[in-house]
């Protein structure tokens, strides 16, 4: 399984190269990747009931492995991802035919697919989290694909912020859970449900993990990102909505149900959140007239239904959840692709501007009708079986049942607008002169998926080998059931008839009430969307206000604060609590050699000259003298590497500071400070000097611990073939630290470069004469 995931990533990596050569047929070429995955996963079907585990050690010291496990649930998702993936990739080939960035698109799409497979196959919480965040990242690039558009960037960022924050909450939950159980292996955690439910971490872990799932699966009030993700190219929307991304949250809840489910908290949280999602999005869907927006709200309805079913739990709900989800994947992907084809060939997605396309796009309409019937939950489609099972499962829970019925009514309304309105009628109306049928690449995939919905509806027993182990994994114990299209006349059927009747009313009345609703609510950005906007706009405001208060442009202010704190807090505390012990003999005048005295006097003279200097250039040169004197001290005490470094760094600092000073306006080259300032600076400098000297004397008065020195001296040559211990530590023993340090250097230099460029672009700042300096000075 790891191989399959890695190969998919690899195929993504090859995509830019191969797609440029394959040209127009790149879509067909790369559809082979998900096709191969489909065949691979389908071949696992007979062996899946017991679960197949593969483990590759990853970070053994932390107990984190690249563990993968294929059971009914994982296989259902993996097949859904790869089969829908075939349709999506081949469709993208036609949809993005003339897009010069198609290679990049395929790269991200395949990486996304690989990450998604990782999520559903991972048997390790940490691995799952890594793949989870990879889907967030790749979907950010997919949603923001048309990056020159504002709405794309807005939608992409919103999706990333919401799902990314949820992912972090989820990670915290995972860590709590993993620590409590003592392993990150999901299959082992799931087996210990009773112990987890009885432990103290149950509630926080559940809340955090549920936050991850709710944000990913766009549950109320986090649903706002999903309609905005419509800015993505249509193949992406089809994939994100039907088989991937938003289903990841549902997968997580289904996966965790045996560990975290069957409690009151679980039941009430999931049913209430799911019902709120159903009702809110069913209502909001009535306002839309954009094909993709309508479908986006229908996705939210389906997600709400799945969460409600997981919340209710039990045998029937587990079956219903799997069948409902598969039906949804098989009708939602084709519907999105139909919307994309209509947009592509007829020039708009506004349903009120389209008429009679059925006569010019017969195949697309056929796909739309097949998928639409399934979406409405009518026989003989798989959607009908799913919805009947869902009604049956929810019979004991009144609120979710009512919410689902209301949402199913809205769903039929949506289907009416997406599947019937644009195609119906004899006279063709569209912004494009002569709309025509989409190319084969854009109807073959959706047609196959939609036919799948019919086949599994008429012959549901074909789905049992997959659905039974999947529902068993959700339920947490083996289940045995048969799927049937016709259950006889029962309460769910009566409820369905009621739903259809109400749905038809909504669908027919739509053109009357939609304009009024849009006029009333279309521009309103209250509720969760408003909260998000306020939050995003608030961040720069708060940070600007904070920066204005605490940030100074003057280096001296920073030094005063830093040194003042060091002296006032650290120094004072150490002094008062007897941390600095200065032995009496340390204060006796030492007997240095004459040249040591010379260097000492040099350093002291340099320091004095620095303080007395009248210009900045003078000060920096005098400070250089102090540095060189210290370098000489290093050579006296047999630290040649340190001495060389000190010499070179001193030289470069003098050069760099001199270059900076040359760029300052003339007026700033001279110090002009008041007596108070000088006294304060001088005081702080003196005290911090004394503190450092005291610390040094106190430290050297203690006997030195030589264990490290001895270790490195002994190990340097035998272990690292080097005689210069300093260098061996830098490039071998502690090479990882060095790698981090040079990376920091590169980042810092890049920052300096960016700042200097920024400064250069601005007109030269006027000489203000004040030592505070012009704003934004180097």
């Amino acid at each position: 399984m790891l191989t399959a995931i890695l190969l998919t990533f690899l195929a993504g990596g090859l995509a830019p190269w191969a797609a440029r050569r394959a040209g127009a047929s790149a879509g067909w070429l790369f559809a082979v990747v998900p096709l191969a995955l489909s065949v691979y996963f389908a071949s696992m079907l007979p062996r899946v009931s017991g679960g197949i585990t593969q483990v590759t050690p990853w970070v053994p010291s932390l107990g984190v492995d690249l563990a993968f496990r294929l059971d009914g649930l994982s296989l259902t998702f993996a097949l859904m991802i790869s089969v829908v993936g075939v349709a999506v990739v081949s469709y993208a080939g036609g949809y993005m035919k003339d897009d010069p960035l198609k290679p990049r698109f395929l790269l991200i799409l395949l990486s996304f697919m690989a990450a998604m497979l990782g999520v559903v196959l991972a048997d390790d919480l940490i691995a799952l989290f890594v793949f989870w965040e990879l889907t967030s990242l790749t979907s950010y690039f997919l949603i923001g694909y048309k990056h020159e558009k504002d709405e794309s960037r807005y939608g992409a960022l919103q999706g990333l912020i919401i799902t990314g924050s949820g992912g972090l909450a989820m990670l915290a939950g995972f860590l709590l859970l993993g620590n409590e159980v003592g392993t990150f292996r999901i299959s082992e955690i799931v087996a210990q449900g009773d112990a987890i439910r009885a432990s103290g971490v149950y509630l926080p872990a559940f809340v955090l993990i549920a936050l991850g799932a709710f944000t990913k699966s766009a549950q109320f009030p986090f649903h706002v990102w999903l309609p905005n993700a419509m800015a993505a190219p249509t193949p992406v929307s089809a994939f994100l909505h039907s088989a991937t991304m938003v289903k990841a949250g549902v997968y997580l809840l289904a996966r965790m149900q045996p560990a975290l489910g069957s409690t009151d908290v679980w039941f009430w949280t999931l049913t209430l959140v799911g019902s709120a999602t159903l009702l809110a999005t069913a209502g909001l869907s009535l306002v839309q007239r954009d094909l993709k927006k309508l479908l986006a709200y229908s996705t939210l309805i389906a997600l709400g239904a799945l969460v409600v079913l997981l919340g209710v739990g039990g045998t029937v709900a587990s079956e219903a959840m799997i069948v409902f989800m598969l039906a949804h994947a098989l009708y939602k992907a084709p519907l999105f692709m139909v919307a994309g084809s209509v947009d592509h060939e007829a020039g708009t997605r506004d349903v009120t501007a389209l008429r009679g396309l059925g006569s010019v796009m017969p195949v697309t309409w056929t796909v739309a009708i097949l998928a639409g019937i399934s979406a409405s939950g009518l026989p003989p489609m798989l959607g009908f079986i799913g919805k009947e099972l869902a009604y049956e499962a929810l019979l004991p829970a009144l609120l979710p049942l009512v919410a689902l019925i209301a949402a199913s009514v809205a769903m039929i309304g949506i289907v009416g607008q997406v599947v019937v309105r644009p195609f119906w009628g004899r006279r063709v109306e569209a912004p494009v002169e002569r709309p025509h049928e989409a190319p084969a690449s854009m109807w073959l995939g959706p047609l196959v998926l939609a036919l799948g919905g019919v086949t599994f509806g008429v012959l549901p027993m074909l789905l049992e080998p997959l659905a039974v182990p999947a529902a068993s994994a959700v339920y947490g114990a083996p289940l045995d059931f048969y799927l049937k299209l016709w259950h006889g006349v029962n309460l769910p059927l009566l409820l369905s008839i009621l739903t259809v009747a109400l749905g038809l009313v909504v669908a027919f009345a739509w053109s009357r009430f939609q304009p009024a609703l849009e006029a009333a609510f279309g521009g309103v950005r209250a509720g969760p969307a408003g909260v998000y906007d306020a939050f995003i706009k608030g961040i720069p405001k708060v940070s600007a206000a904070t920066a204005r208060r605490v940030q100074s442009d003057n280096l001296r202010d920073h030094l005063v604060i830093i040194l003042g704190f060091a002296v006032g807090l650290v120094g004072l505390t150490a002094f008062l609590r007897g941390g600095i012990l200065i032995p009496a003999d340390a204060l006796v005048m030492p007997s240095g050699t004459p040249y040591e005295w010379v260097v000492l006097i040099l350093a002291a003279g340099g320091a004095l000259a620095t303080v007395r200097a009248h210009s900045r250039l003078e000060a920096i040169t005098a400070l250089g003298v102090v540095g060189f004197a210290i370098a000489l001290v290093f050579t006296f005490f047999a630290a040649p590497d340190l001495a060389i470094t000190q010499f070179l760094v001193e030289t470069l600092i003098v050069i760099l500071v001199a270059l900076v000073l040359m760029r300052l306006p003339d007026g700033l080259l001279r110090e002009r400070t008041g007596a108070v300032h000088r006294l304060l600076s001088g005081g702080i400098a003196t005290v911090s000097g004394l503190l450092l000297a005291g610390l040094l004397i106190a430290v050297t008065a203690q006997p030195m611990d030589l264990r490290l020195t001895e270790f490195f001296n002994a190990a340097s040559y035998p272990d690292a073939l080097g005689k210069n211990v300093v260098n061996v530590i830098l490039v071998d023993f502690r090479a990882f630290d060095t790698l981090g340090e040079i990376a920091v250097l590169v980042v810092a230099a890049t920052g300096v470069y960016a700042l200097l460029r920024r400064v250069r672009k601005q007109p030269p700042a006027a000489d203000q004469g004040a030592p505070g300096g012009p704003e934004g000075g180097p």
């Binding site: 760099l656 090479a735 990882f736 590169v746």
Partner: protein, 136 residues
């Protein structure tokens, strides 16, 4: 900054200092020196050249700009670590290739490659700042 003495001396010093920096780099594993110090020497030499002749003349001496140089250096250091991973050892484990050629010993190793990376990063970082400040 255009004194004749500075220019003439710089021409001579540049070659000597660059040679010295490579010398420091290569001997660093056994004697005082190493990538960091060597890089600082090379960077000082080029900074001196930039002061005497202008930063565009100094930049023309380098085959690539200082910022790509940082990237190359960082990649070389990372590669030195990854080579160990390819050999199935923990990241950044030192690998050695020692060969005798009639009395002269050739010692190649991943720590040396790592040190070359450090050298290039230091040169790139310092020159990015110097050129950025000096360039007008």
């Amino acid at each position: 900054m255009t004194s004749l003495i500075l220019r003439t001396a710089t021409r001579l010093l540049l070659a000597v200092l660059l040679l010295f920096s490579v010398f420091l780099l290569l001997r660093g594993h056994d004697l005082p020196g190493g990538g960091f110090i060597g890089g600082l020497v090379a960077a000082s030499a080029l900074a001196l050249y930039a002061l005497a002749f202008g930063s565009s003349a100094a930049a023309a001496l380098l085959p690539v700009g200082p910022r790509p140089l940082m990237g190359v250096g960082l990649s070389a250091a990372a590669l030195a670590g990854l080579l160990a991973a390819l050999a199935g050892r923990p990241f950044l484990t030192g690998l050695w290739f020692v060969q005798d050629f009639g009395g002269y010993t050739l010692k190649l190793s991943t720590p040396l490659l790592f040190d070359v990376g450090v050298y290039l990063v230091v040169v790139g970082v310092v020159l990015t700042m110097v050129f950025g400040l000096e360039d007008d």
